[in-house]
Amino acid sequence: MNGLQLTNVSVVLGEARVVDGVSLRVEEGEWLGLIGPNGAGKTTLLRAIAGAADIETGEVYYSARDLSQLGVRQRARLMAVVPQHPVVPWGMAVADYVLLGRTAHMGWLSRETSNDLDVAREAVRDLGLEKLSGRRLDELSGGELQRAVLARALTQAAPLLILDEPTSSLDVGHGQQMMEMVDRLRREQGLTVISAIHDLTLAAQFCDRLVMMAGGKAILEGPPRAVITERSLRDHYGASVRVLTGPDFGVVVIPLRSDNGSGDRPASLDVETL
């Protein structure tokens, strides 16, 4: 059994069952997107996979290995996490930050080997951070910081990449670049990716498959077109949207104003006929 396999995973925080019996599978080399309204349990599920939240019941396996049996070091060699709100340490330079990704590959007493430095350098190059590698993290823009965090994750050389809302603080251009970068890296390096994604249109464009969560449960699963529908978004997001699909642009989600009086209903309804 390869890839990531969750069986009936539940997480309880305080009194609340935040993740409730979720089972899902991510094949090796696949990109699975988790979507769902705020508070659906996406982030908590990712934290549970990463070992940061305690699993009440259920199992998480990666490549036939029970993750609950692994220590933090072994886990960090299997999976790298890009958090939604990374902590930005004061004064630290980008190059040093990226090198932190080698922690799980180093002994207590050893320093970084030339191999560690090479891996980090490659990640810096892959993400186009060469010119910024001497800059302080606290002086970077949101998009640059996100790239630095992704470079650190790549430096872990782990086959599974966990992304929590990688585009939430980015504008449309940078968000798109981020997704393109993840897509390229996972193809080049054969990474398996699971990510929570806020932007449904981006999720549909880049993910192979989507799982929609609501109330802690996984309620829909399948290719983007099957999961992102006007009905599912109305039922679970309480959203009034128009969902357009087309052969050359995937799925586009257009929010509709409830008040029609403005006369600005999207004219692009015609797109359906394209």
């Binding site: 940061a52 902590v87 004064g91 630290m92």
Partner: protein, 333 residues
């Protein structure tokens, strides 16, 4: 690093030269060189002057350096694991706890346990101090917690432990003098024996902190991210706090309560050499040693022939410094 070593040696040298008995620089150097293996150097110092050099000035200067190195590196380590720029052995209740432990040890000695060792009880007290401070600060909700929460908890714990200590002290008047002179700082009476008694604990503390200096850098990204990078934050915190507290307790049991060294030195190092604990820990060791030897020099010369308690000198410098760190601590988190 080279500069810091040179500074340390220079301060140590000045500390050996300055004092009521005027010893010439050439003679002191010659006397020191004579002690080195394979070197025979004539020094014109008399027996009495040699005794002053070897039994009074040198142990005092070396102890100052050891205590300073230990307190400064412990302060840097606390700042790293608690991710709190205001953490310091004194402000976390570590010193007060060690003081209470040492007082109990002194009392037990007077009450029929003459061989009661000071350092282990000081360590127990110090652990109690830091555990109470950290535990209390964690009772406040995560959103409301800030750098100052831990320090406020530490101040409360320190006051409480000091009150207990004062109570014990005053209800046991026979030992009052010994405890009191100890509290004010004992570098005055330090001999080689005192030095050998605490050196092992300090050395363990230094080695552990040096080994964990990269782990402290990883801790800078927070517990959750440190764990995903392959480091157990709880294990690191336990080991580093244990080592720093062991060193601080040994320092306090040797020299009494000396405040602010753990704040002044690491922050100066940060200003000079940046954020990384790989540099901060070794430089804090070196500069802490130099700083406290220099502070002791000031303490014994500024109102000569009388002496100021060394804690007064460090607090005099540390108070304003602490305010400065407090003002800028927003940037440090």
């Amino acid at each position: 690093m080279v500069l810091a070593v040179a500074l340390g040696i220079a301060v140590l040298g000045v500390a050996l030269l300055v004092g009521p008995a005027g010893l010439g620089m050439g003679d002191v150097v010659a006397a020191l060189a004579d002690r080195l293996p394979f070197l025979e150097v004539e020094s014109s110092l008399t027996e009495r002057e040699l005794t002053i050099l070897w039994e009074i000035r040198l142990p005092r200067a070396v102890m100052g350096a050891l205590v300073g190195a230990t307190l400064a590196s412990a302060g840097a380590a606390y700042q790293g694991v608690f991710r709190n720029p205001l953490a310091d052995p004194y402000l976390l209740g570590v010193a007060a706890g060690a003081g209470l432990g040492a007082t109990v040890a002194i009392l037990l000695r007077a009450k029929g346990f003459p061989s009661m060792p000071l350092a282990p009880l000081a360590f127990v007290g110090a652990v109690l101090g830091v555990a109470l401070s950290y535990g209390l600060s964690r009772t406040r909700g995560r959103e409301k917690r800030s750098a100052t929460t831990l320090v406020l908890a530490g101040v409360a714990v320190a006051s409480f432990l000091t009150a207990v200590q004062t109570f014990l002290q005053l209800t046991n008047v026979t030992t009052l003098r010994e405890v009191y002179s100890w509290i004010l700082g004992r570098l005055v009476t330090v001999g080689w024996g005192d030095l050998y008694a605490v050196l092992p604990y300090m050395a363990v503390s230094w080695v552990v902190l040096l080994v964990f200096r990269r782990a402290l850098d990883v801790m800078a990204v927070g517990d959750d991210e440190a764990a995903t990078l392959g480091l157990s934050p709880r294990a690191v915190r336990l080991i580093v706090v244990g080592a720093a507290t062991l060193g601080a307790a040994a320092a306090v049991s040797a020299s009494g309560l000396i405040a602010f060294v753990g704040i002044i030195v690491p922050h100066t190092v940060r200003l000079l050499a940046g954020w990384s604990y790989r540099v901060i820990i070794p430089l804090s060791l070196l500069l802490g040693g130099a700083f406290l030897t220099a502070a002791d020099l000031v303490a014994r010369t500024v109102v000569s022939p009388a002496e100021l308690p060394i804690g007064v000198v460090t607090a005099f410098l540390g108070g304003p410094f602490f305010l400065m760190v407090l003002r800028t601590s927003g940037d440090l988190e």
